[in-house]
Amino acid sequence: MEHKLKKYLRTETLPTPFCPGCGHGILMTNILRAIDELELDFRNMLFVSGIGCAGWIPSPHYKADTLHVTHGRPIAFATGAKLFNPQLKVMVISGDGDLASIGGNHLIHAARRDTDITVICANNEIYGMTGGQVSCTTGEGTYTSTTMGGNPERPFDLCRLVEAAGAGYVARSSVMHTRPLINYIKKALCHRGFSFIDVLSPCPTHYGRKEDRPSPPEILRDLMKRCITRQKAEDSPPETIEGKIIIGEFVS
């Protein structure tokens, strides 16, 4: 039997270029699951992505309209397409570096404008494609190829950032929490106005190597442990949740 998501893919582009253990492939599948469960018309969907490993999630793999643009700018391109043709269902899928470092201005302005698009940040807390440099989401003290003494800077909390800018739907999940992830994507797609999901997606090749992490499975298990639900975080004393990633819905 053919896989039920195969119809959404340009199968000639498979296998994906993602490294073993990369979370981007899991995210790629779960976005399609959400679309399939909602029974959206894929032919009426536009996927816009920037430059980086995450930019490859929709382009070239998704068999829909795909626009793979300059580094940091997918939200700007998506804004033009959506404003001119409001019939299109527009989703931006890109990396943390693309959406929040170089493209951070477009991110907050789209949230402020309440542009009717869904933005999914494949957040590996690093610049994967260029070989593991520090990103604006890399944790303090983390070793990367440009912070060999540990990252001296603080990371952005992207959910709080877009919430403050006015986003109408905001959630965070990880590629290890696929059921809530799919639900959040579905809710984001059904939300009218700007919606945003921060999806933790590990990069064993670069993040893992500089951090001297042993193996992809261990990194995935570690991500599992780092994440705690919003409910649990609210019920725990602050010192016990230090360094944890809080997942859940923040604005809905």
């Binding site: 032919r43 070239p60 829909a64 793979h68 643009v69 300059t70 700007a76 804004t79 019939q87 201005n105």
Partner: protein, 413 residues
């Protein structure tokens, strides 16, 4: 195109606009509603007293432009202000973006969603657009960008005219590519060349630039809006199924498609084959794409190039000029004739692709190139001219409009 334009009645710019330009303010700023216009949809044919920026906006709407994204910068602002009023009336979309990078990004996104689209800026904004200009070239996205030039570098003199972006517009993005750039000298041409810019963008699937400046943008003249059937407007060539990114003809321009048409478009700024699939390691595909992106413009340069000649028939001295400097050049040529010099004017309406062959065909002893910069186009003229022709650059770099006197003095020397 009007062939009977009253060239010899064109006043030189100093008399018309420099009074209010040098005061740093506009003499009068009629609101759109004050003007005798029908604001629902297209402006009716007739005569209008417009400034350059207004004529560009109206030309764009006439050409079918229904999307504008921009970021305010002097001296281009009246274009976006007028578009913000006029586009909603014409059923289009206006958006003010957070910067010029986003403006051109939104324009390209809207074009692929089916729009004819435009943005307007000045030199500093053009610098910010540079990367997305390369993207538009690589993805063969038709769009129009107005550069209302001011003096630089950097913030420079924000309200003073200059032609300092003639090279920036050609070379600002990375690698090897071609664009089209037009240089109007009158308000009539601001309107007509804007319509043509859209037509050229659709024909060649390339960004087309209107090289305006602070003087012509704020100069007011009568503009005749031609009747509906007197001005050709080209629509997008589409072909379902594609391929949308290549043809075997090395100078060919593939047809397009839009989002939502079921084409599953694969659009990327990475090197791609004719169906849009990334081919980032294949030297043959890179070569084929680079060649076609350049040759589709260069091999059609004679078709694209527009210029006008005045009194060049017997001329041994030719002034080659473009934009507002050509007005002073025309006056200078007439004065030189009165003093017995066999002078003529070659006025470039198309600056890029550069009309090398036309320059080379000039049999003049001397060529003068007056410009409001340090001789950017003079270098192009120099490399295109015959070996026995002496090329002289006449420059003005103080943010003032070049005068007939300066050109005449050089020609008489």
């Amino acid at each position: 195109m009007r062939q009977d334009a009253p060239y010899f009645n064109l006043p030189t710019v100093r008399t018309v606009c420099c009074i209010h330009l040098s005061r740093g303010e506009r003499l009068f700023a009629p609101t759109i509603n004050d003007m005798n216009e029908n604001l629902n949809g297209d402006i009716p044919p007739g005569e209008y007293f417009w400034e350059g920026n207004e004529a560009v906006a109206e030309g764009a709407i006439r050409a079918g432009c229904r999307f504008f994204a921009g970021y305010p910068i002097s001296p281009s602002i009246e274009i976006m202000e007028r578009m913000s009023n006029r586009l909603p009336e014409a059923g289009g979309v206006f958006v003010q973006m957070e910067d010029e990078i986003a403006s051109l990004g939104a324009v390209i996104g809207a074009v692929w969603a089916g729009a004819k689209a435009m943005t307007a800026t000045s030199g500093p904004g053009l610098s910010l657009m540079a990367e997305n200009i390369g993207y538009a070239v690589m993805t063969e996205t038709p769009c129009v960008i107005v550069d209302v030039q001011r003096v630089g570098p950097s913030t420079g003199q924000a309200t003073r005219p200059y032609s300092g972006d003639m090279m920036q517009v050609k070379w600002c993005s990375s690698s090897d590519y071609q664009i089209i750039a037009l240089s109007p000298w009158s308000i009539q041409e601001m309107y007509e060349l804007t319509v043509q810019a859209f037509n050229l963008a659709e024909t060649y699937r390339v960004p087309v630039f209107i090289m305006s400046d602070a003087a012509i943008a704020h100069l007011r003249e009568t503009c005749t809006v031609p009747g509906m059937d007197e001005l050709a407007v080209l629509d997008r060539r589409k072909s379902p199924g594609g391929p949308h990114f290549g043809t075997d003809d090395p100078r060919g321009v593939p047809p397009m498609a839009s989002f939502g048409e079921g084409e599953a478009l694969l659009i990327t700024g990475s090197t791609h084959d004719e169906f849009g699939y990334r081919k980032t390691q294949d030297p043959n595909i890179q070569k084929k794409l680079t060649t076609r992106l350049n040759e589709k413009i260069l091999r059609n340069a004679d078709k694209i190039a527009q210029m006008e000649e005045y009194l060049t028939g017997d001329a041994d001295t030719v002034v080659v000029a473009y934009g507002i400097a050509a007005r002073a050049a025309l006056a200078a040529v007439k004065q030189a004739r009165n003093r017995g010099v066999k002078a003529g004017l070659l006025r470039l309406k198309t600056v890029w692709p550069f009309p090398e062959r036309t320059i080379h065909s000039l049999k003049a002893r001397r060529i003068f190139v007056p410009e409001m910069n340090r001789g950017q186009i003079a270098q192009e003229v120099q490399r295109s001219a015959r070996a026995n022709t002496a090329v002289f650059s006449i420059t003005r770099v103080d943010g003032e409009v070049i005068t007939p006197g300066e050109i005449l003095e050089a020609v008489l020397s």
